[in-house]
């Protein structure tokens, strides 16, 4: 991976890795996903942040018991070889399908807005080539890329100022105007944009200061939550209820409110800038899947990355109707939520094993 020395991630690497893996296409349609709540969706990103921190705690706990192993090894150690390997295979499959859904989303978005009348075959291949280049550099290269991405994408927040001018603050109140069913639906759809912090289970062995890993990851999560909160707040102020429910990619329309003297449509510029965020997210997932494949076959080969990329490419080109593809991705998301809860199961198994060893 990175040569003979083991790669070491310091605190900035961890903070920005966590932040960027979560921050991908999710934010662009976040107001629409939370739209079942209507105008009171403004506080939900904060709730998501709290849930993320709560689910982060068992992850860090189980990792601190097995300091030098990533989740694949922990699975094998706690559950035995065959059960562990099958769970690992499931995890790799889920991540690869999630990766292809992220890239698929993005290429559809580019096709509809920035590059109409073009087939997306070659742009997709170009994206995958750059992805493979980043992943071949190892987790430190991905972490550094995430840092650069954050500093390059962060200034787009300032484009929201025209939306604040044109919006109405009164949309924000009343605050808790929803019932439980709406809340559950919003959480199910909206939490997708928060997925990604659990990848710390796979790069935990490379962190330099493991005792403070929880603190750094929490900082990363809350940076993302803050960005989501600001975006949702402004979109609630700017849009009407009907628009929130029906407009896809509403955040891009927020940016259209901007008026600069020398560029007309900022949203095209921002969409193409988003490829950096997509690359940051996708490269982390691809790296994790590569590590999974290595631990399944107990061999390190450079061809693993290329095999996985080919699988992603196949998912994009599958000659299935889009409805089926959507359902497939939905099932995948549900299994992914299961993986979030998996560390709790592992914690229980670990405690049981310890109790068995003692007597």
């Amino acid at each position: 991976m990175s040569g003979k020395k083991s790669p070491v991630l310091n605190r900035f690497h961890v903070i920005f890795l966590t932040q960027n893996i979560m921050f991908g296409t999710g934010i662009l349609s976040l107001p629409q996903k939370l739209s079942s709540l209507g105008y009171s969706q403004a506080l939900f990103p904060l709730l998501f942040g709290v849930i993320a921190c709560l689910t982060l705690w068992p992850i860090i706990w189980i990792n601190s018991k097995y300091e030098n192993d990533n989740l694949f090894r922990i699975n094998e150690k706690l559950l035995g070889k065959w059960l562990g390997k099958s769970i690992n295979l499931l995890i790799v499959a889920v991540y690869i399908i999630f990766l292809s859904s992220v890239i698929n989303n993005y290429t559809t978005l580019i096709q509809t807005s920035a590059l109409p009348e073009q087939s997306m075959v070659v742009p997709l291949i170009m994206l995958l080539l750059v992805l493979v280049y980043i992943v071949n550099g190892g987790i430190t290269s991905i972490a550094r890329f995430c840092m650069m991405t954050f500093f390059l994408i962060f200034p787009t927040i300032f484009f929201l100022r025209w939306a604040i001018e044109k919006g109405e603050v009164t949309h924000l109140f009343p605050l808790f105007n929803f019932n439980g069913k709406e809340a559950l639906e919003a959480m199910k759809k909206g939490y997708l944009s928060m997925l990604g912090y659990e990848l710390i289970m796979f790069y935990y062995p490379y962190i330099a200061n493991k005792k403070k890993a929880f603190k750094y990851t929490t900082i990363g999560i809350w940076i993302t939550v803050l960005l989501y909160f600001i975006t949702v707040l402004v979109s609630v102020m700017y849009f009407s209820k009907w628009q929130l429910e029906n407009v896809e990619y509403s955040v891009l329309h927020l940016l259209k409110a901007g008026e600069l003297p020398f560029i007309e449509r900022i949203d095209i510029f921002v969409i193409t800038l988003w490829v950096l965020a997509i690359l940051a997210t996708a490269s982390a997932y691809l790296w994790t899947a590569k590590k999974g494949l290595e631990s399944l076959r107990n061999k390190k080969k450079s061809s693993h990355v290329y095999i996985l990329t080919l699988v992603v490419l196949l998912f994009e080109w599958m000659p299935l109707n889009p409805g089926f593809q959507e359902k497939f991705y939905e099932i995948n998301y549900n299994i992914y939520y299961g993986i979030l809860g998996w560390p709790i199961v592992l914690c229980v198994v670990h405690l049981l094993k310890k109790k068995r060893v003692r007597p």
Partner: protein, 499 residues
């Protein structure tokens, strides 16, 4: 009478004995001298055989008090006055005192002997004693110290390095008068046997970097080193990258600045530039004049240079992508203007841009090869006439000429020539990817550029270091330069020793 006769007889016998002893001694030394003479003749014949058909290699036999001495030297490397003053006059007057000035060398080590002669040393072979001495008389004609043409500044010292390594070392040593300024010499190049010197400050430099550099230099296996940039490409971390990873400069004040910061400098004989390692990407945009100017001017100029690099790789690709794929990005008046100027052009924007970029490259290359007298006229013809005529003929639009000229000027902002060449190359990648997929292609190329820069290393340290600053004070001297009182002069990348 008898007693007198006896006295005289003993005295005569004693004197006979003395002359006998003297004669035997003389015959002993005579024998020794004969043997030595034979051996020296043999060695001299072997030297002559090795240096056959080297017509500027001279042998002279001088008769001195100590016997015959053969003087061997290379005429092109030694000045005639030096030969007279240092060798011939002392040899003919007090040959026995030559031993105090000259050093001895083993005449059987033929390789060393030949190397000494071809390096400009004078060899003195004393026939009677079979002793070979050498004196350092290396004095080829050198260029005088002038101001640099490529890296000139308005304020600050104007001297620059020359091709003689000793003159360069003297320029450095007069700025850093410190016994801790060490320099280690190596000989590299199997055919050219060039001298190089690694210079560093012993109390500040990081020893791991030093060992790494020494290992790399010792591993180098290349026949001929004509310039230090060849050595640079052989010891770089990522030779396949378009970006330079070490700093090259001809100014001694920059070099002494870097030395006191804890970096390592490599000098080469016959090479005007000197190499500095390790460096970061941001330092490629730093000129030493930034430290002589006040902090506001310096910050302004640095920001100009730094953003100029990113502008030069973005302007012409943005023109291509805006006109081909996303015309809705431009405001209405600008779009009308552009379409008016492009109304006669039959090509799509990408061909137009590539056409004029290539014309500018050709002008630049041809201008640097032409003799000075012809170059000025052709420059005016190429620049003004071709440009105006091409616009009027409808081959290119005049807004594009402005954009291309601006981006060409911006590409010369970085003080290092290698970096400006790199930005020209990177611009073509951006133009082609913008021509293929517009802004999306440009952003993908930008992502590739970022990923590539982040993976580069300079002597084992990451190239883009101030992104993750090792010390917070590093940020005081990056894109914006804080006032001098705030600058801690040891940057984090040099990992200097703490006192």
């Amino acid at each position: 009478m008898k007693k007198l006769g006896n006295l005289v007889r003993t005295k005569i016998r004693a004197s006979c004995k003395e002359t006998e002893q003297k004669e035997s001694k003389d015959s002993n030394t005579q024998e020794k001298n004969n043997i030595n003479n034979l051996q020296t003749e043999q060695t001299i014949n072997e030297i002559k055989k090795n240096l056959a058909r080297v017509n500027d290699f001279l042998f002279k036999k001088v008769v001195t008090e100590e016997g015959i001495v053969t003087v061997m030297y290379s005429n092109s490397l030694v000045e005639k006055m030096i030969m007279q003053v240092m060798v011939f006059i002392p040899l003919t007057n007090h040959a026995n005192q030559i031993h105090q000035v000259a050093e001895e060398i083993n005449p059987l080590d033929m390789k060393d002997v030949i190397l000494k002669i071809t390096s400009g040393q004078t060899l003195l072979y004393f026939h009677d004693k079979n002793v070979l001495l050498f004196i350092d008389t290396y004095s080829p004609p050198t260029r005088s110290i002038t101001s640099s043409e490529t890296e000139s500044t308005v304020i600050g010292s104007q001297d620059s390095f020359t091709e003689s390594m000793e003159a360069n070392l003297s320029l450095i040593r007069r700025r850093i008068r410190n016994p801790m300024l060490k320099n280690e010499n190596f000989v590299i190049g199997s055919e050219t046997n060039t001298n190089i010197s690694i210079v560093y400050m012993d109390t500040i430099v990081n020893n791991d970097y030093l060992d790494e550099l020494r290992t790399r230099i010792e591993r180098v296996d290349y026949p001929a080193f004509t310039d230090i940039s060849l050595l640079k490409q052989l010891i770089e971390d990522n030779p396949l990258s378009p970006f330079p990873q070490y700093y090259m400069t001809v100014r001694p004040d920059t070099i002494s600045d870097y030395l006191t910061d804890g970096r390592i400098v490599v000098l080469m004989d016959n090479s005007q530039a000197a190499l500095v390692c390790p460096v970061t990407f941001f330092e490629m945009f730093v000129s030493v004049e930034d430290y002589y100017n006040r902090w506001t001017t310096a910050s302004l100029l640095r920001m100009l240079r730094f953003f100029g690099f990113f502008l030069t790789i973005t302007i012409t690709p943005a023109y291509v992508s805006a006109l081909t794929f996303h015309p809705e990005i431009l405001p209405y008046e600008l779009l009308v203007n552009l379409q008016e100027s492009r109304s006669k052009v039959p090509f799509p924007p990408i061909f137009e841009v590539l056409f004029i970029e290539l014309i500018i490259e050709v002008l630049r290359e041809a201008g640097s090869r032409m003799p000075a007298k012809v170059g000025q006229t052709i420059g005016i013809v190429g620049g003004i006439v071709i440009g105006t005529a091409a616009v009027e003929a409808g081959l290119i639009s005049n807004i594009l000429v402005v954009l291309v000229a601006t981006s060409a000027l911006l590409s010369f902002l970085p003080p290092i020539f290698l970096m400006s060449n790199t930005s020209r190359f990177v611009r073509y990648i951006f133009i082609i990817s913008a021509g293929m997929y517009g802004l999306y292609g440009q952003m993908l190329a930008f992502a590739w550029l970022i990923a590539h820069l982040l993976s580069l290393k300079s002597l084992g340290t990451p190239f883009m270091t101030p992104i993750i600053p090792r010390k917070a004070t590093d940020l005081f001297d990056s894109v914006i330069r804080f006032p001098t009182a705030f600058l801690k002069r040891k940057m984090g990348i040099s990992k200097s020793q703490k006192k």
